[in-house]
Structures are given as C-alpha cells and as structure tokens.
C-alpha cells in the first residue's frame, strides 16, 4: 500500500542516498575521463590507470600502507579481543571503569590530539630507552594498533554481550579449563566478529592520514599522505583512478560477503524447516508410546 507516509519515506531515502553516493560515483566516472580537466568530459580513456601504475611514489606508499594495515589490524584484533573479553566477562574489578574509558575514548578523540600525543610519547621513549629508534613503520604500526584496537574492542564486546554466557559455563562444567574454554567455545563463536573487527581495523589504518603524518618519519610515507599532498595542490585524475580501484575492491568484498550471508541465511531457513518437521515426528512418536 502506498500512502503519503511511505512516499515520504521513499523520498527521504532517495535524497539521502543520492547525497551519499553522487560524490563516489563522480569519482569513478571522471577516472575514465580523457581530459586532464577533471570536470570536463573529454571522452573515455583508461590512461590515468596506466599513469597510476607507473607512479613509483604512489605504488611504494600503497605497499607500505598495506603492510602497516595488515600488521596493525592483526595485533589490534589480538589486543582488542583480550580487552573485549575482560570488559564483557570478568565482572566488576578495580580499574574496570578506567579500562572501559581507555577503550572508548580513542573512538571519538580528535585525530590531531592522538597523533600529537603519540609522537611526543615516541620521542620521549627514544630519549629514555632508545626505542623506537627514530620514526618510521614501527611507530606508525604502534600508533595504528592503539587507535584501531578501540574499534575491535567495541565489536568484540558487543558480540560477547549477545552470547549466552552459560555456553562458556557449560564448557567449564564439562571439565574445560578457562583457557581451553576460550579456544574451544568462545573463539569459534565470535570468529565472524573478529573477522569484521580485523577488516574494520585494516580499513581504518589504510585510511589514516592525520595520526600517520605525526608519527611517520622521512622515508615512511603512507598512501593517504601521498594522496593528501597531491590533492592539496588541486584535482588530479590519477587520484580518481586510485579511488576507483579502492571502491571496486570494497564493492567486490561487499558482494562476496552479501552472497555468503544470504547463502547462510537460506541454509538456516532450510534447517529451521527440518527442525520443525523433526518436532512433528517426535510429537507423533510420543503419542504412540
């Protein structure tokens, strides 16, 4: 039924999503533009992709960014999972409030503050203990672990909050020590949350400009830093090509995830029907006894 209210709803959604997606689509369209003047259409071309592939600076920065993102996301997932477990499962203890504050504050902390404070920490640490020596990939990874870990913690904590705690109690009751309970029961159940936490951390790290700018040293320029310095000087079509590649990767990833999820959903629906039928069978068999 189409009444006034559903028209309002559709209108809101159409306008809202246009706002969200027109800029992204325009990036993609102009990446195939022959003309150097980004907004004037000069015919279809893939020359900016070729130019991008020959840009050593961008390729080098992209490679560094990928390494940093993969490494920091992996460590952030490990630390974030521990923090999430502590917050969701260990009950009240002294210092819990502080820990919970330390995990949520980085979510909203302005990046300029986080970046500056981490740089000053690294400088001080180098003066005091000589490590980390200078600034480069190590300091970027440490900084990225710290701010992405907060996101992983939130994801893990909220997933754990949804899980029936008696699953873990049942495992203990059946003779598994706490560490074993974690690896045999908790971890397999929260694995999807850990995967999405990893992807989130990876994306955030790959995307970070401000914090990296503070803690990076000479010779450790990440992709967003290169992009930023180019973009500051004006529009350049090879950046559009880069954006299109990133968008394509995300889109493919989302489609794969979507298909996998709907498959799982279908399988679950089928199983639910089977369970219903089984239930019927059991009631029948009980009537007979």
């Amino acid at each position: 039924m189409m009444n006034e209210r559903s028209w309002f709803r559709i209108g809101v959604l159409v306008l809202g999503f246009l706002f969200l997606y027109v800029p992204i689509v325009s990036l993609v369209v102009y990446s195939f533009n022959e003309s150097r003047l980004v907004t004037v259409w000069g015919g279809f071309s893939t020359k900016w992709y070729a130019a991008l592939m020959q840009n050593e600076q961008i390729l080098g920065a992209a490679w560094l960014s990928l390494k940093v993102a993969a490494l920091s996301a992996t460590i952030a997932v490990a630390l974030g999972t521990l923090a999430g477990m502590v917050l969701a499962r260990f009950g009240p203890f002294r210092g819990r409030t502080l820990l919970s504050g330390l995990t949520t504050a980085p979510l909203v902390m302005p990046e300029v503050i986080t970046g500056l404070s981490l740089l000053l920490l690294f400088v001080t640490m180098e003066q005091l203990i000589g490590w980390p020596a200078g600034r480069g990939m190590t300091t970027i990874v440490l900084a990225h672990i710290t701010f992405t870990m907060a996101f992983v913690t939130v994801v893990v904590q909220s997933r754990l909050a949804q899980i029936d705690e008696s699953l873990e109690e049942a495992a203990q009751d059946l003779g598994a020590r706490p560490a074993k309970v974690f690896f045999l029961v908790t971890l397999p159940i929260i694995a999807p949350a850990l995967l999405s936490g990893w992807l989130l951390a990876f994306t955030l790290s790959l995307d970070d400009l401000v914090i990296s700018s503070f803690v990076a040293g000479p010779g450790s320029t990440t992709l967003p830093m290169v992009v930023f310095s180019k973009v500051r000087l004006g529009v350049s079509p090879d950046i559009n090509a880069l954006a299109t590649i990133l968008i394509a990767i995300v889109a493919v990833g989302v489609v794969i995830a979507g298909v996998a999820m709907s498959r799982q959903q279908k399988a679950r629906d089928r199983d639910a029907q089977m369970a219903l039928a089984a239930n019927q069978q059991m009631i029948e068999s009980m009537k007979r006894t």
């Binding site: 109690e169 059946l174 045999l184 159940i189 219903l276």
Partner: protein
Amino acid sequence: MATSPRDNQVRFEPWKDPDAQPYVRIERVTKKFGDFVAVDDVTLDIYKKEIFCLLGASGCGKTTLLRMLAGFERPTQGRIFIDGVDVTAMPPYERPVNMMFQSYAIFPHMTVEQNVAFGLKQDRVAKAEITKRVGEMLDMVKLGQFAKRKPHQLSGGQRQRVALARALVKKPKLLLLDEPLAALDKKLREHTQFELINIQETLGVTFIVVTHDQEEAMTLSTRIGLMNHGEIVQVGTPTEIYEYPSSRFVAEFIGSVNMFEGRLTEDEPSYVRIGSDDLEQPIYVDHGVSSAPGATVWAAIRPEKMQMSREQPAGPDNWTAATVQDIAYMGDLSIYLLRLASGKVVRVTQPNAARHADERITWDERVYLSWDPTSPVVVTK
C-alpha cells in the same frame, strides 16, 4: 505409562535413616553480592539417588545455591561437601558435578555428537570409549539418528535432550538441573517429566533441580526444599510440604489455601480449639499444638478439604454459614468463592463427579461450610 520402579521397592526415605550419610552437604552457606544477601545461612543434606527440588519464586536464591554447587559462585561463608569431599574452593572444571542449563547452552558450532563428546574429551577418555559412550547416551535420549545434526536443526525438545545427554555422559556424582522444563510447551513438559524420572532411576544419579513451578517440583522430587529470601523455609516430601506446611508462607506458596487467624481457646495434648473472628463456630483440631494459650495462630484449610451443604451440620465445631459469591467451572472441578459474615472470602473446590448440574449449589445461595477435625493445619508463624 510404565510403572515406576520406585513403587516396587521398599520406600526410598534415606533422610529418615539415622545411619545414612548425606551425599551432598551444604553447611551454613551464605552468599552476598555486595550488600545483597542472595543465600542466607543455608544448611541442607541431600542423599544419594534423590531428586531434590529447590523451589521458590524468582530471586529467592535457588539459582545462586545451584551455581555454588556447580562452582560458578564461591560461597561468602560456609562449606559444601560432595560425597565427603570439600568442594567449596574447587573450580567448576574439577568438580564431579554436571549441570543442565536453563538455556541448554548447547555449543552452536558443534554437532549433537560433538556436544555430547565434549566433556569426555576434556577428561582425555580414549577415542573408542568416547564413541561408545556417546552412542549409548544418544540412544538413551532417543537422539541416535540426529547425531550429525547441528543444534539449530533441532527442535526445543531435542535440544533439551542433547543438554541432558551431554551432562549425563560424564557419569557425574551429581546432576544439577536449572529449570529443566521451563522452555518446553505444556504437553511436552508433562511427558518429559516422567522421562527424566525414568532416566534418573536407570542411571542412579543424584539430581538437584531448581524450579519455580510447584507442579513440576511435586511430580519430580523425592523431597522439596522451599526457599524464600535466600533461606530454606521448609524441607520435606511433596506430601509433607502440601499437607503439613510449617508456616503460612509455605501453605500459601504451594497450592491454594484458606487461612483463618485466631487464638487458642482450649489447649490440650490431644486436641485444640481455635476461635476466629471470621467463623461462627470454633475450629476443632484433633491433635495438640505447641504454642502458648492465647497466642495468635493460623489455621490453614485447603479448598478441597471443605464441604458445602444446604443443611446445618450437627455439632458445635468446624462449620460456618456462607453465601455463594462466585463459581468458576473448570471442567473436572468447580471453584466456589463463598462470602462469610465477616466479609472474608473462602475458596472451596468441588469435583464435578456427576454430569447433571440440577442440584448443584448456585449463585447467591446460603450454604454451610464444614470440614473434618483432621483437615486444618495450625501454624504459628
């Protein structure tokens, strides 16, 4: 329905045997959460092969007590012994105790078979032995053909059986059941109750069941421990709890009851008389009561132990006049609400033995209410 093996045995009443050793001993256990006292100085002995029900409203401390037996909570004070061993400080994974959770807590990422085998694997039982015992257990709970299924492919009743099988396969000294039937629908619940009793008798495992459902407690248990505000208020067989409640709380918690407040007017070793402002004639009880004369007491009379008639009963005691205020027809029986002269409303149940309803007492009729001298239970608190 097969006859229960219990009927063929000599009465199973180890708590009456002075030489019997309790299997589970809860000794002056208290559990506090901050300022809140969840379990208050509970002492309880449970014997081997019992089905002991902890019964009470939600928040009465029964689940906390169960969780202390499983090892998930540490008592603030007191000790717990199982089969003579002090387990108070023992972690759950070392206790010879298994639990069936209210939510069943079946591992969603494992098949039925893997769920049941989990506990045996933790004990490093040999593979062949695991396969054998899991198979036997699944057959016992009639899930043999579902061994390879995942939990989300099972119905509620089947999940309950997986949880039961998983807890029993380790041959625990004690099985703890937290609201075992609460998630099942009514028909399935009744059937499962008897099945639980059968399994318990076959395996000879001691059961401790937590429930808020008095009917469930009555059907399942050898004895009931009724809890209120963290304390055990009465322990006894279902019959004892129903027929001989020790306090007003117990009498009112189990079933329904008419409670008459009064004073002892005559106090002899072989009988007492109680005068109540609500009743025209005194209550006569054919046994002595240990209470000071003149003290306030309560006489509790169950609705099914009261009779209605149109003629005034003979004798000086145990009757009163009343007016029918309301009738609820329940099929097998009818509930009458009768108003006394004092304004108090009394509940009486009458079985609908005859099909014709012509002579049945009806709305607004004046009737006489009477009861036997054996029916009232006198409580002093």
